[in-house]
């Protein structure tokens, strides 16, 4: 089955993508009920423990996160060893790998998931400042996960509305069923490897443009289109040249992606300039796609309006995919914990399409 489409690879209680009804469920909760109500910390607890935390559990988690925001000395040196123009996803992959090195193999645990989650924003913020030639900023323990990330990036506390927007983005992107990066993490965990290994593999998968690597491309395409008035002409012309519309298409949703719906509203509020252009582009793109394939559902995906929200938050576009990783590390680690608890090595089969067995010719006789 190409791409394993429709093949059940795992049982999970972490999240469910109900494509028919356009619902994303975390541990039984519909995403729309969580997105603007819960902190990323609460949702991370939910994904790891299967229930929402009470006040004292949330305080304990926040403290544990805050006290593991510093990088190890090895990770600091390794971060500085990378050239300033390195793709931030490669920085994340490498420095998460260093941060998680171990002497002997350890089993995945919730504390390790917390420590990894705490380190992602630090790695990205430190690298961001280094490439701008600015000094690193120490984390602030009294700030929440989203607020501290922005603080470490910018060196000043962000506006509460911006913090809330980033938090909502992180909650929305925290998990999404058996996507390619989560599946990578589970394949790695299925060999009884460690949590860091699973996360490093997942980062590598998220980097791909068919997965997490697309939100920056949305901005780039919108920049090419330029104005709402130009949308129709540009998109129709692009289609003739077989140019892919960025931010459209999803294997699972038959109706509008519930995350895109929330992000679209946020864009309308926070990034009107983006919204005016993007909503027109969306309208025309969906029209063209519908003309071509009337049988296919509307397919604006989460990346399309993510781009506008992340732009409004003030993140540079090369930080869109890494910030996706900041959210998804909670889901990845929850899946690794679940995989480890009910493990069976993931080892599918392949179908051989090569020649029938034959004998090798000795080196000297080869043409």
């Amino acid at each position: 089955m190409p791409g394993l489409e429709g093949i059940v690879a795992s049982q999970t209680a972490i999240s469910m993508v109900d494509g028919e009804n356009g619902r994303l469920i975390y541990q039984g909760y519909v995403i729309a009920d969580l997105a603007e109500e819960m902190s990323l910390e609460e949702v991370a607890f939910l994904l790891w423990e299967g229930r929402l935390p009470n006040r004292s559990e949330l305080d304990a988690l926040s403290l544990e996160l805050a006290s593991h925001r510093m990088l190890t000395q090895s990770a600091n040196i390794a971060l500085d060893a990378l050239p300033k123009d390195t793709d931030p996803m490669d920085v994340l992959r490498s420095v998460v790998s260093v941060q998680g090195v171990e002497h002997t193999l350890g089993k995945p645990t919730v504390p390790l998931a917390i420590h990894a989650t705490a380190s992602f924003p630090t790695i990205l913020a430190m690298f961001h400042r280094r490439r701008l030639g600015l000094p690193p900023i120490k984390p602030r323990a009294e700030l929440g996960h989203a607020a501290n990330y922005l603080y470490m990036l910018n060196g000043k506390e962000a506006d509460p509305e911006i913090v809330r927007a980033l938090n909502t983005y992180l909650v929305l992107l925290a998990d999404h069923g058996m996507n390619a990066s989560t599946f990578t993490a589970r394949v790695i965990a299925s060999t009884e490897s460690d949590l860091t290994s699973a996360l490093v593999g997942a980062i590598g998968a998220l980097k791909g443009p068919a997965h997490g690597g697309a939100p920056a491309a949305v901005i780039e395409q919108l920049e090419l289109i330029g104005t709402a008035d130009n949308a129709e002409r540009w998109l129709r012309d692009a289609r003739k040249r077989k140019v892919k519309f960025m931010g459209f298409g999803h294997r699972i949703y038959r109706v509008y992606d519930p995350r895109a719906k929330i992000l679209k509203e946020m864009c309308r509020r926070m990034n009107p300039k983006f919204f005016d252009l993007a909503s027109k582009v969306e309208e025309v793109a969906l029209q063209i796609l519908h003309e071509e394939h009337p049988e296919r559902p509307q397919s604006t995906n989460v990346e399309f309006y993510s781009a506008g929200v992340l732009q409004a938050i003030g993140l540079p576009k090369e930080y869109f995919t890494p910030t996706f990783a900041v959210a998804r590390v909670t889901g990845w680690s929850a899946h690794v914990l679940e995989q480890a608890a009910h493990n069976r090595i993931i080892r599918p089969q392949s179908e051989y399409i090569g020649p029938e067995p034959r004998r090798p010719v000795p080196l000297a006789d080869r043409a």
Binding site: T86, S94, V98, T184, G208, I345, G354, P360
Partner: protein
């Protein structure tokens, strides 16, 4: 809803011409249609890498070109060197490999995987493994030698002395045998990463991460650890019987795919006689008794010895310390991983399976924090 097959057992996830494990007949076929036992007597690791990448064995000039190419790209770049030196020398060598490969491949822009990169990655593994080993011993890493073949250079970078032809041959044969093996977990991990359009380094880093697991690449070390505990041929019966009574799994036995003796294990078993005669005695007696005990417990199962069991003996004979076993496996398999990634590019489709929901009924309303 589709059937759930735990571990995707029996599910075909890809078409491939890189290798085929014919478990029913105990055959491993490498790209081009060659049986592993036919290749071993006539090819070096470099030839097998060429075969896996190109689909055909190289002629003399093609092989020379590949050898020269590999020898020329054995050095770590500045990022990788800095990262290597930042890591505590006592770190698990697989973590060193995962991290330094990641740093070596860190780049400015996303590039599609190429053969050139596959060659460079394959060439640099021995450098990292050698450096990790030397640093564990408190020694400085040494520079690669461009006049040595892949296997000999690997031993050189570990020991700092030129290995005997025999040792280099044992390691080379091991590398040939382990270079590919169908859609195992690490190769599958590489293909899943590749399916998103990611870069080759990301694929290989993901594969290293998967190989690290004791249920996959870590099995060779587990087999050697078991042999260490058994200690001698004379102790095998007592140890195995007691271990079996404690419901302990015997390391180095059983495989999901082979229904008969693993063809690689057969070759390594023969080689083990000369490579490590003393350990061979213990291992042979252990194998005999373990198979007997397993057969008595489960007469219906084809409880064959797997490649890890005999690989642990041969690598020991070649002077490879056991904490490096999994990194040697990676040093071999990287040619297969990269061949699979390159193959998958011709028809790239994101690998995104489904999952079955076993959580609470959707739609419950979250309680406010204060009410929880």
């Amino acid at each position: 809803m589709a059937e759930f097959s735990p571990g995707l057992e029996g599910v075909v996830a890809a078409e491939t011409a890189v290798s085929e494990v014919d478990g029913a007949n105990g055959r491993l076929i490498y790209r081009g249609g060659y049986l592993i036992e036919d290749l071993v007597p006539v090819v070096s690791y470099e030839e097998v890498a060429y075969l896996l990448w190109h689909g055909e064995l190289p002629n003399e000039s093609e092989l020379d070109a590949l050898r020269q190419h590999m020898a020329a790209v054995r050095n770590l770049n500045k990022s990788a060197r800095g990262t290597l030196m930042a890591i505590d020398p006592a770190t698990d060598p697989m973590d060193v490999l995962r991290t330094v490969v990641s740093a070596q491949g860190a780049s400015k822009t996303l590039a599609k995987p190429t053969l050139e990169e596959a060659i460079a990655l394959t060439a640099v593994f021995p450098t990292i493994v050698g450096a990790a080993y030397r640093r564990r011993q408190g020694k400085e890493p040494i520079e690669p030698r461009d006049d040595l073949g892949h296997a000999a250079n690997l031993l050189w970078m570990m020991e700092g002395t030129e290995p005997s032809a025999e040792k280099a041959h044992w390691v080379d044969t091991y590398l040939v045998l382990l270079a590919d093996h169908g859609l195992n977990a690490s190769t599958f991990a590489a293909r899943v990463v590749a399916s998103t359009g990611s870069d080759l380094t990301s694929c290989v880093v993901g594969a290293i991460a998967a190989l690290k697991g004791p249920a996959h690449g870590g099995a060779t070390l587990a087999a050697r650890n078991m042999l260490d505990k058994i200690g001698s041929a004379g102790n095998a019966e007592k140890w195995l019987t007691e271990a079996h009574d404690r419901h302990e799994r015997f390391s180095g036995f059983g495989h999901r795919v082979y229904r008969t003796y693993d063809p690689r294990a057969k070759i390594l078993r023969e080689m083990a006689k000369t490579a490590a005669p003393q350990l061979y005695e213990t291992a042979a007696r252990t194998e005999e008794l373990a198979l007997k005990i397993l057969h008595e417990a489960h007469p219906e199962r084809p409880n064959a010895t797997n490649v890890d069991f005999w690989a642990s003996v041969v690598l020991t004979g070649a002077g490879v310390p056991k904490e490096l076993f999994t990194t040697l496996f990676a040093t071999s398999r990287v040619s297969g991983w990269t061949a699979h990634v390159l193959e998958s590019l011709s028809d790239l489709r994101i690998i995104r399976p489904a999952s079955r929901w076993i959580g609470p009924q959707p739609g419950k309303k979250p309680l406010q924090l204060a009410k929880r």
